[in-house]
Symmetry: C2
Subunit: 454 residues, 2 copies
């Protein structure tokens, strides 16, 4: 049963033969290659296939496996497959799933009409179970929770609990603790299975339960839920309504997905991709989504060009300025991005409050000045030697110092300002920052050039 | 017990008063503010303090709490505090910790000598427990595992297991299953606590255990361990040596840390910060670490300048070229980064194999061409109008198209090439890519300008 390297890598190893079989039209052979894989592994393979092949393979996969595979797929890939499934098939697929997985799938349907359509195709029990959950957003604690908790009362003894559990015959997957509630369903604490197994059988639940355990309100944002799980090393946590009544529980496997999604989104945001993006999404949609960011960048690039335009006469007389100006702008962009990244991360980790903004500014200013002085000296020598003009070297070095200092200030100020305005600093920060460093880089270099060299 | 928004945000809310108290020298009051917080919360607050205040607060915190807080700190902050602690204090602090946390702390000591020193200050039992674990790297399964597993034999009945557990009196935290082993300690399967509680007492462990469960080899890289946990929704998993003998187990809380660290590292790598970087690390060290990347960027920026230098005469005659050339380069950089990010993510998720590289290339090429044509038309009109020269518009548009197509090809080719050479594409990809888009942008625009406009 040991999973050697090859075993764990099973998924990647099968991607090539799978792709080959589909390319040759041997769809039957392709499905055979999926035999013995878990639904998560099949999902991972589907994500690695280009759109048309993915659709063909999907239709060949037995329908009884559709639900579990859908639950494991990344959102954009799931949406693309759901769009081609009949509502009855979607209803059927979600039937045997955990409630949180089923809700996730419904939330990826194109719109409320389609969700309504699928709900109507379900039996009453399944519909009721799902519709109450759909009132929570996907990125709230309520949208992450599962309702399959095992409640117990504080007054009973561990012995009674043990007999009760044996009578149930099984417990929901991922259950590591029971939820202690009062008569009205208010959450009182948790009782770990470990405690049931090892505690004195005559003790009551109330005496053994863990009541320091904080319950999570259903409206808490998913990002804070994941911070809480990571900080407190939780495996599962109770979710309550605003009256403190137990609604369900969140398990760590869903939190792991949230953390991975967040990291991915932050990375995509940095290049202006706002939606989750499937590696093999169709060309037209992708081109459009990327065009938005290119358009924004074009405006800022023209702003920089307009600034350069003011120095047309200067450039005509000292062409060396045109040759070297991208160096000043580019160094400012890099230095600023470094600061920006550190600050964006600090914000995400909740490390920055009003009080430590000043030391952060001072630290980054010091780093910017140090690196500014160092690289100013280097470029001054290079510039002066290359164009045989000491004064050009002076202008080059001075502009470099100015731009690296400005980059440090902008790298701290921009994300803090965006956050204060409620805008995601990872999304808009980069483009704003490079606009600042480009404009300041060109103005300082060309401006000093006009002053000193003409 | 309900954690309202304010409750979950407790950490951030206390950062300001804490900082204020330390600034005023009221260190006693600062420590009081930590009262009632978990070690994880204290760690989080320490991470948000600038270096000197952090050190002062640390010395005021009762030593018996040091171990738990050190275990929860981010690596760079932990290292900075450890450097100022006596080996005996470190030995004392790690004594009561889980073995994986203790090992993590030892691995953050400055060097093997310091580790040796701390080990020698420990009692025999503690030393023996730790030194066997130190042979595994921090980023391997062995470095993540804990040795506090509860082994059971396949032949005994659930009834016997239940009585055995009760005799133990407690189980290690995070235990959700027992490990089934044979006489030689070979791993056979897992038995969940749920099954012990709900199964028929007369069944044997062998009949109830979950044997499909894959054991993780101790040398498996941490990144693959986290992929496995995420894909299979694991809470804990057994770790075995190359003979299949049970060594310990990995729990999901450690995997959550790995996932967060990886995401953070990828983000920092993209701006050339290779080490983990504390938000408030000392200025000199930070400046040096960032200077490396700025230096690499300077070389590539001078390469681009050298390319522009070849068109000195052209620029002198048509200054508009100098004004507009940053626009071409910048758009190529953005488009290329978008492609690069998608490909880097696909590689990280294991979605890319040899077979689907071709469709990926074709898709990105199509997107690059579409966006290239669209933005070429826009800039051609703007350029022609601005400088009242239709031919300048043609040159501008053509260069834009060329650069966006090249950016798409480079965005796919560079990360795949780096990966093939064993280099982290997130680290070196960005700087290589912008070098390509800068050089191609300048060459195509100035070259076409020289051909058509002179």
């Amino acid at each position: 049963m040991v999973a050697d390297r090859a075993g764990v890598m099973a998924v990647q190893v099968r991607l090539d033969p799978l792709h080959l079989a589909l390319e040759r039209g041997e769809d039957g052979r392709a499905v055979d290659l999926l035999f013995g894989l878990s639904s998560a592994e099949v999902a991972s393979l589907l994500e690695g296939l280009p759109g048309p092949e993915r659709g063909r393979l999907w239709r060949k996969i037995p329908e009884k496996s559709h639900g579990a595979i859908l639950a494991d797929l990344a959102d954009p890939v799931r949406s693309s497959l759901l769009r081609r499934m009949a509502p009855e098939k979607v209803a059927e697929a979600t039937k045997s799933l955990d409630i949180d997985d089923a809700v996730d799938i419904l939330q990826d349907l194109p719109g409320p009409e389609e969700i309504e359509h699928v709900l109507r195709s379900m039996d009453v029990q399944n519909r009721r179970r799902l519709s109450s959950m759909l009132s929570y957003e996907e990125d709230q604690a309520g949208g992450l929770m599962d309702t399959d908790v095992v409640p117990v009362r504080a007054e009973v003894t561990l012995d009674v609990v043990a007999r009760y559990l044996r009578s149930l015959g099984s417990l929901p997957e991922g259950t590591d603790s029971l939820m202690v509630v009062d008569r009205e369903g208010h959450f009182l604490g948790t009782l770990s299975l470990r405690r049931v197994l090892t505690g004195d059988a005559q003790l009551t639940v109330g005496e053994c339960m863990h009541s320091r355990h904080e319950a999570i309100p259903a409206t808490l944002p998913a990002a804070e839920v994941s911070n809480l799980f990571a900080r407190e090393d939780l495996v599962s946590a109770p979710v309550v309504d605003d009256q403190g009544r137990l609604l369900g529980r969140i398990t760590v496997d869903d939190v792991v997905d949230v953390i991975r999604d967040q990291a991915e989104r932050r990375m995509l945001h940095m290049v202006g991709l706002m939606q989750e993006e499937d590696t093999f999404s169709p060309v037209w949609g992708s081109a459009g989504r990327r065009a938005v960011w290119l358009g924004i960048n074009l405006v800022t690039a023209f702003l920089a060009a307009w600034v350069i335009g003011h120095f047309e006469g200067t450039i005509r007389q000292v062409v060396a300025l045109a040759i070297l100006m991208p160096v000043v702008a580019s160094m400012g962009g890099i230095a600023g991005s470094q600061t920006l990244t550190i600050v964006v991360r600090g914000l995400a980790l909740g490390q920055l409050a009003r009080a430590n903004v000043k030391p952060l500014f001072l630290k980054e200013l010091a780093i910017g000045t140090l690196n500014g002085l160092g690289w100013a000296a280097v470029v001054a020598v290079v510039g002066a030697t290359w164009f045989d003009s000491p004064w050009l070297g002076v202008v080059f070095g001075a502009a470099m110092l100015v731009n690296l200092v400005v980059a440090a200030l902008a790298g701290v100020g921009i994300p803090l300002g965006l956050r204060a305005m409620g805008i995601d600093p990872a999304l808009a920060g980069g483009v704003l920052l490079t606009t600042v460093t480009d404009v300041i880089g060109f103005v300082s270099f060309l401006g000093l050039g006009a002053l000193i060299l003409l």
